[in-house]
Symmetry: C2
Subunit: 345 residues, 2 copies
DNA sequence: CTGAAAGCGCTTACAG
DNA sequence: CTGAAAGCGCTTACAG
């Protein structure tokens, strides 16, 4: 079979065309297994995650798959399901399949991303991070910047006591969120920060409500908020899921959003535009991050000597909606991202 | 390498154990490509969809992947992206990879599922349908039954003019929805049905808002509703996305839900519990359907002579919430599924 | 029951 | 530039 990869072939285009036609007529398909064995190269790229239970991780999976397919690679999907053993299995599957590379969708819980990446690159499998934190090449949304911006917006709107609703497990992305919030708060001495931990620290996620863990987090976080005698007037939530569920639960208890408490989300999923009230959030550029992460992997595969250990940070986009009341406009570079209009026009 | 598949091996367990230990110490991994080439069998199963743009299709992808991995098979993911050409490519990828089978995640637009399945089974690739309609083995949620039940609930609540908000493209699953609604309506002569088509019939989906097409559908459908001089008092929506967006848009125009219009969804995604008001919907048993579809594929692969052309229909579960006001209880088999309590306890 | 040989369908150096 | 041979790492029939 003619392999179309080596660019300029040795045979004429007309001949190649005739071969292709004959091949199609005969129902011939090149044998991928034989090709891989002979060339000792594959077009397989592992797409590894600790879980695909959240909307946002499924979006990442989709973005990665799309970028890989577009680049001529086949995704090899694997979910470790929060088990250290799962990551070991992922490694052996990639090794057995002679995978050309791997994309780690972050965060990788409970095994640190850098540890997994070290194992894979040590086995000759170039590995990049997709929102799994730096320490290896790849790309991610700028969480620190995003949460800095959310906090600045809350402060700018006059809030002096700001709450942060944390997730169940503390992973690197969460550390970045906290860092962004704290950076903004530390600039304003009159502003205090309180954190809400809905789950016991570092509790492993329970499989029972794993599929709507974000919603459960928001619900439990709302109860912590309601128990608070002097609750903050603004709450920054880990994610949109958490924020939507938080609003729903406190509203059931008679709390008004945004009058009593302004609520900020993070992710920018479509559903955030139809929550009650519509959610102020920062949209993650999932497709762009996926394209950047895959792009850096492909260059790592094709030009192994490029020690381009770069981790690209892409900015999120603030979408101001009713859940925070009116937000002041901050002067921005280019002044593009802030969109004070509600979603439906 | 010792292949663990043939069950009782020729060597003792102790020896096998020593081999495994040595293999691990040496960092040996069996070469999957060589194994596939030699045995002319693979553990690859195609997971094919027209798109992964919707929350529910990503959930199906996740359920299928999980079931496949659990059964010892590797998913080979492919999205045709609404292109007939995409389906042709899917076929050649599966053939080139000597895939052991395929799961079609429905609906397959614009190529009919049965046509794709015929091509694949003709090429020796057993194929099942996951919510892609019958005509081939597999499994799906009982859409006809679900929409019958939703309509019965609306009628039971006293609505005599019921609206159905259709999606952009009419596919087989949508035909089943309509059939369920019409069956219930035809039983009650005093009830009339009106349908809302937000998009021109059979318009191909626009890539621009493909990722939040459900929300766009709800928004446009709401405008049709608002233009109506004698609008129905109950609206059954194609999906949760559509319903949530519909409610949001009509509420912006001053319409009260459920007082002015009762809204019914379908899917039972977590976000439906936190909409405003919380959405009455039917939950799809995605994991169970995925397990059933994969189960039927595996039996097709392992026992090819079983002409088990069965398409299993799994029932959805009605979750009554505030978007429809109080719903009367229908006597049910076992009387279990109806849950009149709102989500948060 | 065991071991050595053939062969799966390609790619890749290597003679011609 | 072209064609025939070797070989990728396994599995599988097939002699012993």
């Amino acid at each position: 079979m003619l392999s179309d990869s080596p660019g300029a072939s040795r045979i004429s285009e007309a001949t190649a065309q005739r071969i292709r036609e004959t091949a199609e007529r005969l129902g011939y398909y090149p044998n991928v297994a034989a090709r891989r064995l002979a060339s000792s190269r594959t077009d397989l790229v592992g797409v590894l995650a600790d879980t695909f239970f959240y909307s946002i991780s499924l979006r990442r999976l989709e973005a990665t798959t799309r970028a890989l397919l577009k680049g001529g690679y086949q995704p090899l999907v694997w979910a470790a399901d929060w088990s250290p053993d799962g990551w070991t299995q992922a490694h052996s599957i990639l090794a057995s399949n002679s995978a050309a590379g791997a994309v780690l969708l972050g965060p990788t819980y409970p095994v640190p991303t850098t540890e997994i990446a070290r194992g894979l690159t040590g086995a000759g499998i170039p590995t990049v991070s997709f929102d799994a934190g730096d320490g290896l090449p790849g790309a991610g949304v700028d969480r620190l910047g995003a949460f800095y911006e959310l906090t600045r917006a809350a402060i700018g709107a006059g809030h002096t006591k700001i709450g942060y609703l944390q997730p169940g497990q503390v992973t690197q992305p969460d550390v970045l969120r906290m860092a962004g919030i704290e950076a903004a708060v530390s600039e304003c001495p009159h502003v205090t920060l309180v954190t809400f931990h809905p789950f016991p620290a570092d509790a492993p996620p329970a499989r029972e409500h794993s599929r709507d863990l974000g919603f459960e987090t928001g619900r439990l976080g709302a109860h912590r908020y309601l128990e608070d005698d002097h609750p903050p007037s603004a709450i920054i939530c880990y994610s949109d899921d958490v924020a939507i569920s938080f609003m729903h639960t406190v509203q059931s208890a008679g709390v008004k959003v945004p009058e009593d408490v302004a609520v900020f989300g993070f992710d920018g999923l479509p559903e955030s535009s139809c929550s009650y009230p519509p959610l102020t959030t920062i949209e993650q550029p999932v497709d762009a991050v996926g394209a950047a992460a895959v792009g850096s992997l492909l260059s790592l595969i094709n030009v192994p000597d490029t020690a381009s250990e770069e981790y690209r940070l892409l900015p999120g986009r603030l979408i101001a909606r009713e859940s925070t009341g009116t937000l002041p406009r901050f002067p921005q570079d280019g002044d593009g991202p802030v969109d004070p209009k509600p979603h439906d026009g």
